[in-house]
Symmetry: D2
Subunit: 140 residues, 4 copies
């Protein structure tokens, strides 16, 4: 399998089409098996006690799985999230970036399913687990 988009083209796509959030996120690496995305944790992502907010972790998982799908099918498709399930497992380490490690479980004609584990950078135990389904619009 050849990837339709590599790391640089995915980051360029985010910068152009997702300018509101692009500064906070980056695709670190992408292969046929796994995509790694980073959330640059800043003040906007924090909650009382210094922990990273749930919606910020959700946003990271969404971006990781979305870009992993695009790496396979290219930037033309307008895939939309139809379902997500997330388990928050541990408190993230404060003032530490989060990394999402994403795998695609299914890439069908109409539906794609991916999952991500989220880690505080440098720690071994995951802080969250997420799975998401995307509906892929029929091509033209």
């Amino acid at each position: 399998m050849t990837l339709a988009m590599d790391r640089d083209s995915l980051n360029a796509f985010l910068a152009r089409d997702f300018e509101q959030i692009a500064p906070d996120f980056a695709v670190e690496s992408v292969s046929e098996d796994v995509l790694i995305a980073r959330l640059r944790v800043g003040h906007a992502h924090l909650r009382p006690g210094g922990t990273v907010s749930g919606p910020s972790m959700f946003a990271l998982a969404d971006l990781a799985i979305y870009t992993a799908i695009l790496s396979r099918i290219g930037p033309v498709a307008l895939a939309v999230t139809s379902n997500a399930s997330i388990d928050f497992l541990r408190k993230p380490r404060s003032e530490t970036d989060l990394l999402a490690e994403c795998r695609i479980l299914k890439l069908g004609r109409l539906l794609a399913v991916g999952e991500a584990l989220i880690f505080s950078e440098g720690l071994e135990a995951p802080v969250a687990r997420c799975s998401m389904t995307y509906a892929i619009p029929p091509s033209g």
Copy 2:
């Protein structure tokens, strides 16, 4: 059942403890049965095509269910989300606030479960459905 926190005390709590996000959200009403929360949709919440982002809808559901739990048990508890499931049903109307309508299904000693339907203000069909579980720390 008497509510432990009313609308004004919930909004004051958000302004104080969630200052990063408080300007975007408001508790509109709260009763024993249902809490309504608003997301003031702005540029930061939008995605290509003018739709509201999934993480923004997730954040609204999280805030609605969290404040609904606090309305019952008061501001002392530090409840944390342990699980969430969300279905995105329809594209929200562009440049329109979102309203979440939240009900508590279980308020146990250790776990609370709530669900929310999210609507574009003024439209009848929901744009998303969400259920969340919160772990309530042991008091004492």
Copy 3:
């Protein structure tokens, strides 16, 4: 909206196409808004302590949401479950039938989403909440 299948035709469909499970289940009522399905709780559904097993509750929710979709689109479609999320809220009452109360939240061309609350017959507080997505095959 006219229903494509009423209660009797749904039960006849179950008896014919789902003969392994049909004796345990029944559609009690169906309208444009809500479908009620029953699980006749027997020994096979029980777990230690007399509670109804999680998979039995899952099966009831699946049957309720599936038949609610068929009541709208008719028996020709071969819809398949693509995603389910279930929260177990309370221990069901022992030796008591379960009732699922199901609503359809979305009936699209490709995806349908429904949710169900499950009750021990005669009790007010729900024992479980479930939401499911079905993929509807393109009609020929």
Copy 4:
């Protein structure tokens, strides 16, 4: 880490406490990292078209994650499922056993979270993905 229960003691536990379902299931192997459980697919698990039913796959995931937790904490605890999310990815191969491959993501004092991939025996692509949360009763 030493396991509190090995494969034989888990299967003996199932035969004693889950006699209704024990003949259909078996723990194949268990280690610190992964537990493999089998569903012996029979007529009762099938649906029209020869596919294995969703509730049967749910039951397999539930059993796999439950026994994986017991392998760590022993048979005394009466853990109950509080939440489950399942994605059905592909149609299982007909007349073929299913295998669930389960990992524990969190084993807390009050909550445990595990995930399972389900495969038709001998095939590489998973037919389902499931994550579940169990509430662990406080020990006396």
